[in-house]
Amino acid sequence: MASKVEICPEVARMAQIKTRSIGASLTNELSRLIAEESILAIDPEVDLVVEAANTLTEIDALVSTVGVNGVGVNGREIDVRPLCPDGFISVPRVLIGTPYLSAGTLVVQMSGHKGEIVAHVGPGSFLAQEDKAGQEDYVSIRVNIDPAFDLEKTLSSIVHAPVVDFGQNLKNLPDKSELARFLSNRQQLILARQKQIVTAIASKESVRELFVEVAQSTPWAKLSQILQTSGIWEVRTLRFTEKLVEKFPALSRDRIKDEIRKAGEEFGGQPETPEFRRELIKRLTKMEVEERLKSAAPAKVKQIIDAVVSGQTAKDAVNAIISNKVAVALAVSIKEQRSAIADFCQASAEEIGMAFGKLALQPAYATHSLDPEQGVEAINEALLLLEAGQIAERAEDLDIDLAVS
């Protein structure tokens, strides 16, 4: 049996970055690296040279599409699989019967980043098991570990075995479009054809070159990255929604989330960034005001919010919009009387009276107006816009809060 070897953390981490980027299995890759390291540790006199060049495993698209995972030794590619704790190894069915698997499989027993090659399974074992495995895409076989397993001897016999030309019987070679289909959705092709394509890639250099060319122009390798980013964007929207839900009680979680998603399309996927925050606060404030103050004129509400967001106080902003300054002064006074921030309600006669007293105005204020009804309306409008402005003021304070996570 080969001695136990260990992969250094840097190599393991690089392997992880690599497998993540192409959407392949890290466990497979680590088992392959352990196999490579074990072969390198064999006495140099046995003359085994590990070379990745010209192996199928060097083609990333084949690693991610069909799961090739081999190590090149003296020009022969030998498949490598990690042994599961229950004593099985699994090989993609599409590889069985292809030249890729002709040198069999080296079985690696792993524990973290340490491991050893414990067995070699000949290609015949998979062929025998294939029919029994039903329609599963992977064929699993139980591996019996022989403590007397001799890696040197096994590898020597593999590299000295005659090479069979699998390519000579291939007639119908895949073209560009079929290779693209194989890459993007090989399940559309029958299994026998998939195997023929793997055989063609393995034994015909022209097909291999064409496959590499197609793989480079097919962007599907990015799918894993896109899905990962999708998860990241979802977390960001959820976290931001949670932050905002309490601040905008009139809005449902779903509405807030929708607004964040929309803002992201405009400002990018970083909700903590200043323009994103400010625009989002503005939009949500407007929605909140509209929801809470249903009777307010939307154009004036927007005007108030814009003014407050750009630095004016709510009172100044309302003063700039409503020409009846006395009505605004009364509204401010009434607003000060109201301690809690409740949903908007119209000013009562008592509240108006108290405000007059506070401002030392004559209750005959209404007589200043041509129409007493209009005077009360002006107070109520000012009150309403003041309320909107104050909601916007409170939302303004959110800006710094939202920059903290």
């Binding site: 466990t27 140099p44 070379e51 980043h113 996927g269 970083q270 903590e272 920059a403």
Partner: protein
């Protein structure tokens, strides 16, 4: 290294008995060439006929083999030095150079750091040259001891092992250097930023990943599409559920957004059938492949342009001076102006803010320039980012680094690091604050001794330290190849970026 006729003659003068072997090798090569040319079509024949391949010292040394070379060196007395120099320069060095340039770990290391091809060649050559000298010294040592098995040093498998070890040493040294450099908080703006050749992993950490508006638009549509697919009874649900769990999309009750499950966890959560764990995992892999195929099909029909948004790109808000210069071809003055006015929401702002003229913008776009606003965490950003992205002066950046962590952004004003307007300016340039959670340290930055003190065994702690930063617990588990639930101490004592729970 090419051999001149004079060098071949020099060797054959030292070892005249090898002339016969050289002649036979030359004969073999020329007959091989004629048979190859005979099988070429006429056009190829004419093209290849002009350059007959000559036999060099490397081919001759290869044909002779390690044992013959060593034996000859043992026999030589006066000419031994000359002979060993020829072996070093024309056998060991080219053999090592070939192996170094094919070394998978080195290739991966360079690729992940975007080292240009010519620089890779330079590194490979210097590693090979150093190695050839070491191997020559080893041969000399064996010759000095008159060791019988000294020839082993000249065997390709031995050279390969040495190349492998040398490559690992090189990677580890560079890795250490990167880690220590990233901690360097006192870089002058004029100094070349050493991070330009470091791996992208920290940039692609989930919390640091910049997503452009265009990408968000595609992601929103993708999510709507996936929700529809899951709701469509015509679709098989299980494969999509596996995709959901494996990528942490939070689309079904089985998954949580941002929490990528390992395949083993996925088998448990979805209760996938199987007699053994291996079969369950194999089933999970099949379902994942199927699910991804379904998603691809959906994308092909509904979002054909999505992949275009994920091409390699250079974000002008984050790129180093060198990246701006080398990857985008910006002049030094353009770079300076760009850095001063960071950050940008659209590339067009570069023209609006007079950083460059409109025709240049097209050139930049063609070279993959994008403008995606990036948040900069005042509690963890490097000194260089505080200066280059947030625009802090060198002194203030240094003080910020010394006085952090800050519980709130207003502390910057309280501590007189910036005034109110300065804080506003910082916020406008993308300054954010990620609060350092009391009691739980970030596993990506906790010192090694704290990891050990918390009860993690030392070898595991070292592996964590050397592999970080990690984006998710699933990523850490996958990297360590262990079941993290057996190490509750990790999650009890440490957090992991914004995705920690």
């Amino acid at each position: 290294m090419l051999t001149s006729q004079g060098q071949i003659e020099e060797l054959l003068d030292i070892a005249p008995d090898w002339r016969q072997i050289f002649d036979s090798l030359s004969k073999d090569v020329s007959s091989e060439q004629s048979s190859q040319l005979g099988s070429q079509p006429a056009a190829g024949l004419a093209a290849k006929a002009g350059k007959p391949k000559s036999v060099g010292l490397f081919e001759l040394f290869e044909r002779l083999g390690a044992k013959a070379l060593y034996k000859k060196a043992q026999l030589l007395k006066e000419d031994r030095e000359k002979f060993l120099a020829l072996v070093r320069n024309f056998y060991l060095q080219p053999l090592a150079a070939k192996m170094v340039s094919n070394n998978q770990n080195l290739k991966r290391f360079f690729l992940q750091r975007r080292v240009p091809a010519d620089e890779q060649k330079r590194h490979a050559l210097s590693i090979a040259t150093e190695l050839a000298e070491k191997l020559e010294a080893a041969v000399r040592k064996h010759l000095g001891q008159d060791a019988e098995d000294g020839f082993k040093v000249l065997l390709p498998a031995y050279v390969q092992r040495s190349v492998h070890n040398q490559a690992i040493d090189y990677i580890r040294e560079e890795w250490d250097w990167e880690k220590s450099t990233l901690q360097d908080l006192n870089l002058d703006p004029e100094q070349e930023d050493p991070r330009q050749n470091t791996a992208d992993d920290s940039q692609y950490m989930p919390e640091n990943q910049a997503i452009s508006g265009e990408q968000v638009s595609q992601l929103n549509q993708l999510r709507d599409m996936l929700e529809k697919m899951l709701g469509d009874k015509k679709n098989q649900r299980e494969p999509l559920e596996v995709v959901d769990c494996m990528f942490g999309l939070g689309l079904t009750k089985f998954s949580t957004a941002g929490k990528e499950l390992t395949m083993r966890e996925c088998c448990d959560v979805l209760q996938l059938p199987g007699d053994t764990q291996a079969r369950k995992i194999a089933r999970c892999q099949v379902l994942l492949d199927k699910g991804l195929s379904m998603v691809r099909e959906g994308i092909r029909q509904n979002l054909p342009g999505i992949a275009d948004c994920w091409q390699t790109e250079t974000n002008v808000n984050r790129a180093s001076r060198r990246e701006l210069n080398q990857q985008l071809g910006m002049t030094e003055s353009e770079v300076e102006r760009l850095i001063v006015q960071r950050q940008y929401r659209r590339l067009l702002e570069l023209v609006e803010k007079s950083i460059l003229k409109e025709p240049r913008l097209k050139e930049l776009e063609a070279k993959g320039a994008v403008a995606a606003f990036v948040p900069v965490d005042i509690n963890s950003a490097t000194n260089r980012d505080l200066m280059d992205i947030l625009g802090l002066s060198k002194e203030t950046a240094l003080q910020v680094c010394q006085k952090r962590p800050f519980p709130h952004l207003s502390n910057l004003v309280d501590l007189k690091l910036v005034d109110e307007n300065g804080l506003k300016a910082l916020l406008n340039r993308g300054c954010v604050l990620k609060v350092v959670v009391e009691g739980r340290k970030d596993i990506n930055s906790a010192p090694l001794d704290e990891l050990v003190k918390s009860g993690i065994e030392s070898s595991l702690a070292k592996r964590i330290e050397r592999g970080r930063p990690f984006g998710t617990w699933a990523e850490l588990e996958d990297y360590l190849q262990i079941d993290l639930s057996r190490y509750p101490v990790l999650r009890q004592n440490f957090c992991l970026g914004i995705f920690s729970d």
